[in-house]
Symmetry: C2
């Protein structure tokens, strides 16, 4: 097969060395057996690096995957960020090669795949602009063994993202089989409900986002405690504000969900101010 540089990428490394392909025995190809991090790069620095590394190492522990040395990861990410300047780093850690069959190798040798990309258009849009989102028909599975992890089993998100073409719609919200909102396909959700700031639990489904964690840590400075909760889809229309968070978009307010328009933006303004003050999102 012709070796090609992935479209849109500006940097591709496997285990720290320039590479454009992954060995065919890799368990990420066969089973999605691995984890990933999507890291914003701004002014040649990987943003929220500590939180990304912590989540990755936590995920490795939960999957029983011997983690790459944090010092190596940090060095590679900082070096790549300095080459990238502005953009996105995607770090994939796989369980490495193995024989046929689900059983993990006795002595796994994880692989690191590091890819650099340009910043996507939606992450460059004016931060103050409200987003339009939709409710997806594709449901998210509930599974306590995988919940919260940013693992490589993402077919549900792929099918959800395939549901719409309209470039005006920035994100799709996903529900579990009981109709509880887990978040966006590639973002976490916050809602202001009866004056309280809440976010869906991530112990049965969803991803424990790094920006989500950052917002939860910083919210008290804006006068809010974020409560993790079960949030049914029928409660969304009662919310006075909806917001989405991710490493790439920061914290954005939702202006419209399908035909429903959200009027409020006061909580979002206060949170944005403390996030900007902490240097987490641009002013």
């Amino acid at each position: 097969v012709a070796s090609t540089t992935p479209r849109g990428t500006t940097l591709t490394l496997v285990d720290g060395a320039p590479a454009d392909a992954l060995p065919l025995d890799d368990r990420a190809l066969h089973y999605g057996d691995g984890l990933f991090e999507t890291i914003a790069v701004h002014e040649a620095e990987p943003r929220l690096l500590r939180a990304h590394l912590e989540r990755l190492l936590h995920g490795c522990a939960r999957l029983g995957l011997p983690p790459p040395a944090a010092a190596i990861l940090e060095r590679e990410l900082r070096d790549a960020a300095s080459r990238l300047g502005e953009g996105v780093l995607k770090l994939i850690v796989t369980r490495g090669g193995g024989e046929r069959g689900y059983r993990p190798p006795r002595d796994p040798r994880p692989r690191r795949v590091l890819l650099g990309y340009d910043l996507p258009a939606h992450a460059r849009a004016p931060h103050a602009e409200g987003l339009r989102v939709r409710l997806c028909a594709t449901r998210v599975s509930r599974n306590r063994a995988l919940a919260g992890l940013k693992h490589l089993n993402r077919l549900e998100q792929v099918l959800a993202r395939a549901e719409w073409d309209d470039p005006a719609i920035a994100e799709g919200l996903m529900l579990d089989d009981e109709g509880n909102v887990t978040g966006g396909a590639s973002s976490n959700l916050f809602a202001v409900l009866d004056g309280a700031l809440v976010t869906p639990r991530v112990d049965e489904a969803g991803v424990a986002g790094v920006m989500r964690r950052t917002v939860m840590e910083i919210a008290p400075r804006a006068g809010f405690e974020v409560r993790e909760t079960t949030l049914h889809v029928t409660q969304l229309r009662r919310a006075t504000e909806l917001m989405l968070s991710s490493s790439l978009i920061g914290l954005r307010r939702v202006q419209q969900m399908d035909e429903h328009v959200f009027g409020g933006e006061e909580v979002w303004h206060r949170l944005s101010a403390v996030l900007a003050g902490a240097g987490v999102v641009p002013r």
Copy 2:
């Protein structure tokens, strides 16, 4: 990264050409965005080829993935089987390369990965020998969009298979979050319950196995209609017989599940006779 032939493989092709690596933009690596088939090769022929191809094309349709031409797949599989003689072919069809993000490319160019392996030891074991199995703690997710498909999101099966080391245990049975049995981690399950032959439904979880389908089609010749049902774990110990099916193991009876021993084997004998008569499993 050093290009290495996958351990234990004897044949590796990407899109029909010898290759040992997959481009880093492939969506199978990033999202598990693809499907696979595991095909037994006996006397230089791919077994149950028609059923494997039908399931693959059905899966492509459900994932919105333009299927490779059946004629090309059939030719490559037959050619590989004739080179392999005896063993296992694993065919992976991915959605191909793409830009960053879950959204499938507008014009996807799927890739075919074809790997040949030796027959695993458990598939060479005497067919009459009963298997020991265990109940896994790792649960299977329920999701109607993915149920039945042999897709590449297999972390649950990986975690389940990591639960035991004892080589005497051939397979782990997996339950969904309601305690219903979905099958083995890499096989389908049949049970004789109150004299009736049943198998777990695959419309909420599990894989619609090719050998499962074959057993269901052939069972009437042995005097049985297979009923698809919801099968709770508490019903398993009431079963007089349990059997597992897969392309590699054929149809095998379960002798022991954890500490519970199954005495019966009459239905298994009758099914095995018709399967052998049809040339599906060795006599």
